[in-house]
């Protein structure tokens, strides 16, 4: 087999073009990028959440003090963003499973925008509830 010659494009700029800021790409690449980033953020949040819950076991008073921050407008806004990430990641995941099992990928752009719209609408509703509770 001939060994390939030449230099493969790479580096952070290359990754940014494909995995962070897709340029001149269709909606589905944007869907993939958003899915990946929402997943990474949610994975980080998993450990943050476990850390916060540790306070209940170790020092419940500290947790109740933390609640003051969690109930602030900034804290509630964070919860709203979290719900958006969860909704988008989950619905887009379902979209991918549907495309695998049922095909019809010619509809993928419409499906992506439907996922975005539903996520935003449900997040908006959740935001109203969240801010009304506190």
């Amino acid at each position: 087999m001939n060994k390939p010659i030449g230099v493969r494009a790479g580096g952070w700029r290359f990754l940014a073009r494909h995995w962070v800021f897709p340029y001149r790409r269709t909606g589905s690449t944007l869907a993939f990028v958003l899915n990946r980033w929402s997943g990474v953020l949610l994975a980080i949040y998993l450990y943050v959440h476990l850390g916060i819950l540790t306070m209940i076991a170790v020092d419940p008073m500290a947790y109740d003090r933390f609640l003051g921050l969690a109930r602030s407008p900034l804290g509630l806004a964070f919860d709203v963003v979290l719900i958006l990430l969860i909704l988008y990641h989950g619905l887009n995941g379902l979209r991918i499973i549907y495309a695998t099992l049922a095909g019809h990928i010619e509809q993928h752009r419409a499906q992506f925008w439907a996922v975005v719209v539903i996520s935003l609408l449900v997040t908006a509703y959740s935001a109203v509830l969240i801010f009304s509770f506190e």
Binding site: L46, Y47, T54, I56, L94, I96, I97, T100
Partner: protein
């Protein structure tokens, strides 16, 4: 064509299918978690309310299942991202082992945390 003699294996399919199945499960579990922990309670619970909440065997079971499934899904996803880079087979194996250990530790930690929180009700 040596490249066509790739080992025929279905491990990558297990990862994808595992991700899909855990994802679907997570949607159901998350809906229940968010509803019971936040919306039914109409806001954020304080420490005492959380302890009382987790005392319910159903809620306790749900939270344990949640931490196991979400850890599995999250770390499989991280593995998929790492595997997209040009890694050797040996490096991939190491990454899988490290993430598996991390996953087991995380799920175990979540389980122990739930037990400790629950035990506060008795204490």
């Amino acid at each position: 064509m040596q490249q066509l003699q790739d080992k025929t294996q279905s491990r990558p399919s297990f990862a994808w299918l595992g991700q899909a199945v855990s994802g679907v499960l997570l949607i159901a579990i998350l809906l229940l978690h968010i509803y019971f922990q936040h919306f039914q309670a109409r806001g954020l619970l304080n420490a005492g309310e959380i302890v009382a909440h987790v005392a319910s065997p159903v809620i306790f079971g749900l939270e344990i299942l949640f931490v196991i499934v979400v850890t599995y899904h999250a770390l499989l996803g991280i593995r998929a991202i790492i595997f997209d880079l040009s890694l050797t087979e040996a490096t991939r194996r190491k990454v899988t082992i490290i993430l598996t250990i991390l996953g087991v530790l995380t799920a175990a930690y979540g389980f122990i945390l739930a037990i400790l929180i629950r035990s506060q009700l008795v204490g």
